[in-house]
């Protein structure tokens, strides 16, 4: 089995060799890693993101924002959680109880399962499966049926309209998203996210030929566009502004989650924020070099760093990149007006899909013409007069 060492669970098994924890089998460590990632990363992120979003909104509108609970209002999300937990648990009596209960499960599972293939660090990935990117695309498709069924089960006209819009929007934008991932696959020759990230390093000390190409976003002119298409498609897939028609409060009250109250609504919101995180993390891993520090390779550093510190730095770099993208997502919310539904579909099918197809073709030609080298490698090869490195 390839790349066993890249597994979180395997790393934990190796670390505990020779200690009293040695007899613990691999599947227990897999469960521990899942617990750690979901309860210490995914769900807290969803909670804190609501606080950060309100704070950013306040800053942009010259307000103070949440400032009562704890210093700077930091514990606002905890107060929100308590509030949601203690609210009335409302199931529409005229609706469909079974579907109403199962819909949030689909949304939460669809967003949390995407974390499996995200490499937080070089050796910190819950399951660096071989079909990596495709796996993430596959599990996140569970969200659309979840939203659609939840909206139908509410027996509310706003909900059903919002759910139908949401499902149509998510499935439409899945095409440009998938097509914008294709250039990365052409460049890397792999679907495995860990492998894709590994190829995006750049060490100035190495000769060009021995170097990996730099971040995929600057691999060639077409990947720059592909990056933006993936980002915009991700906004639409996660129902963020300017694509928040499914929950447009001025026309649909609250869209597909109108009838969801208390913790049920909280789970929807949580699932959505986690989905934003997965999207941004995927973007960071595929196009912005994941855990790779720009122009540095820590294991070839002038002093040898302990492996634990390197792992921490990797996680930090990855989270900084991801959270910057999340910040841009929140920033856009207070910047752009909402699209109309016909503009939304027009943008997808007449704008992004043709452009994404063009990017795939352009990247294929670039890879063929320059033997897989990036812009930087080609330029440096020209300046040093060495010509092609192959």
């Amino acid at each position: 089995m390839a790349n066993n060492s890249a597994l979180f669970a395997q790393t934990l098994t190796d670390w505990t060799q020779g200690t009293f924890l040695a007899p613990v089998p691999l599947w227990v460590w897999a469960m521990v890693s899942a617990l750690v990632v979901i309860y210490l990363l995914a769900l807290p992120f969803g909670g804190i993101a609501t606080y950060i979003e309100r704070k950013i909104a306040a800053d942009m509108q010259d307000r103070i924002g949440p400032n009562r609970v704890g210093p700077l209002g930091l514990f606002q999300f905890a107060a929100d959680a308590v509030k949601m937990l203690s609210k009335e648990d409302y199931v529409p009596p005229a609706g469909d109880k079974f579907l109403f209960n199962i819909a949030p499960v689909l949304v939460v599972v669809g967003s949390c399962a995407g974390f499996v293939a995200l490499p937080l660090g070089q050796y910190l990935v819950a399951g660096d499966v071989n079909i990596g990117v495709f796996y993430i695309l596959a599990v996140t498709t569970l969200i659309a049926p979840g939203i659609l069924l939840g909206s139908w089960a509410s027996e509310n006209k706003w909900s059903l309209l919002g759910g139908l819009r949401s499902a149509a929007q998510i499935v439409s934008y899945e095409i440009p998203v998938a097509l914008s991932i294709l250039p990365v696959i052409l460049i890397s020759g792999s679907l495995q996210v860990g492998e894709i990230v590994k190829q995006q390093g750049w060490n100035p000390d190495l000769p060009i030929a021995a170097n990996a190409h730099f971040w995929n976003v600057v691999h060639n002119p077409f990947t720059v566009f592909a990056f933006f298409i993936l980002f915009v498609g991700g906004l639409a897939e996660t129902n963020r502004i300017p694509f928040d028609l499914p929950e447009a409060e001025s026309e649909l009250v609250s869209g597909f989650n109108t009838e969801f109250s208390g913790m049920r609504f909280g789970l929807y919101a949580l699932g959505e924020f986690v989905d934003v995180f997965v999207m941004c993390a995927m973007l960071a891993a595929l196009y912005l070099g994941g855990w790779q520090l720009p122009f540095l390779e820590l294991d070839k550093f002038w002093i040898t760093l302990p492996s634990g510190l390197i792992a921490l730095i990797h996680v930090g770099v990855f989270l900084v990149k991801t959270l910057l993208l999340v910040f841009v997502v929140m920033w856009l919310r207070w910047t752009l007006p909402r699209l109309r539904v016909d503009q939304l579909m027009g943008l997808c099918w007449k704008g992004m899909v043709p452009l994404a197809l063009f990017n795939v073709l352009g990247t294929a030609i670039w890879v063929w013409a320059f033997k897989g080298q990036s812009m930087i490698q080609v330029a440096m090869g020209l300046f040093s007069g060495g010509g092609s490195s192959h």
């Binding site: 599947w27 509310n156 095409i175």
Partner: protein, 134 residues
């Protein structure tokens, strides 16, 4: 099967268990709810809802979904060939894989152009431009 899928299994199980867990914790914390007439109605800004919400909707959503599924399948089908492309190029026989990719893109473009020209990508259908009578 790779070990990574064991992690995936646990992620799915734990995420699925989280939902009833949180709802259960809420059930312990919250006061007993007293349903009222307005409270148990479908929310329509306080008005009494007229008729069921389970009504028929416009077919535009449906046409979009039909176009989507064909594109989705084509993208899924081209992924295996795309993973081979880099190695094939470096080994000097990229032409065959490129031809495959090009055919795939050409077919998608053809389908897109057909839908575009025949107006299936228009969201607003059946609205004819105002033409003054002669």
């Amino acid at each position: 099967m790779e070990t990574g899928y064991i992690s995936a299994f646990w992620f799915i199980v734990i995420a699925a268990v989280t939902v009833p867990l949180m709802l259960g914790v809420g059930a312990l914390l919250r006061p007993k709810s007293i349903p009222t007439k307005k409270g148990t109605q479908a929310y329509e800004c306080g008005e009494d809802p007229i008729g069921s919400a389970w009504v028929k909707f416009n077919i535009r959503f449906y046409v979009v979904a039909i176009i989507f599924i064909i594109f989705d399948v084509e993208v899924a089908a081209v992924l295996p060939a795309a993973t081979l492309y880099k190695d094939a190029v470096l080994n000097g026989n990229g032409a065959w894989v490129f031809a495959e990719l090009f055919l795939f893109i050409a077919l998608l473009v053809l389908g897109l152009i057909y839908c575009w020209v025949r107006g299936d990508l228009e969201w607003v259908k059946g609205v004819t431009k105002f033409a003054p009578k002669k």
